[in-house]
Amino acid sequence: MSELAHTNHTEKKDFLVRSSSLKDVRSFCREVFEKLHIDQSLKDELVLAIAEAAQNIVKHAYKDSPDTEDKMVVQISCKENKLQIGFYDMGTPVDPGKVKHREIDNVKPGGLGTFFIQQIMDAVEFKDGKKPWINHLVLTKQL
């Protein structure tokens, strides 16, 4: 990690809520983490966690609106070695109590995205979405 990771840095970008946007979400994250000189191994993990969270928006918050023109925003902030990633969307409100991964020993397709996010990040927190946003998810990682 370089000195840059110790300085304050914030970038955000919006993306159409579509599965085809996920590669663009990953590219955006990689570019930001490149600037922050985060090492490759951690960068891969963070990109996975962020892409899984964005995927959850497409898959769950917009389950009934696959052709939406809505956008989601991903904001990456690094302050004093603490990385904070915010997600904003206008989809169906998420009930944080219902967000859980499947039992990891019960091998079946699906239910792993949230598990990966929880494995990689230090904290996963749903905050009240301020208008126009409905959902506001914040992932945190100490660098």
């Binding site: 599965s19 590669k23 995927q55 091998v107 792993l112």
Partner: protein, 99 residues
């Protein structure tokens, strides 16, 4: 994602190339599943897959389970370091056939 399939006897080798995410999982299933349904042993070469998310992992699990039902198997070959890390995070390295 792009792919190439070669067949020799009862073995179909599927080379996937690119990033495997939710956007391409249906395509991946369309490529892999018919060979399993035909009772072939499927060798899934992932040497050119540098990124796989939970949707891609689901395709691996579904392929593995489908193969068991058909009394055949899916062998995952030449997994890149980054994809292996995701497989291990999902604690699947002892479940899937990795070579």
């Amino acid at each position: 994602m792009s792919y190439k399939v070669t067949e020799e006897g009862n073995v179909a080798t599927v080379h996937l190339d690119g990033e495997i995410d939710m956007d391409v999982t249906e395509k991946a299933k369309e490529v892999i599943f018919p060979h399993i349904d035909a009772g072939k042993e499927v060798h899934l070469n992932l040497s050119n897959v540098q990124y796989m998310d939970s949707s891609g992992i689901s395709v691996l699990i579904e392929s593995h389970q489908k193969a068991l039902e058909k009394n055949t198997k899916v062998i995952i070959k030449e997994v890149s370091k980054s994809v292996l890390k995701v497989i291990m995070m999902a604690k699947l390295e002892q479940i899937l056939n990795l070579e």
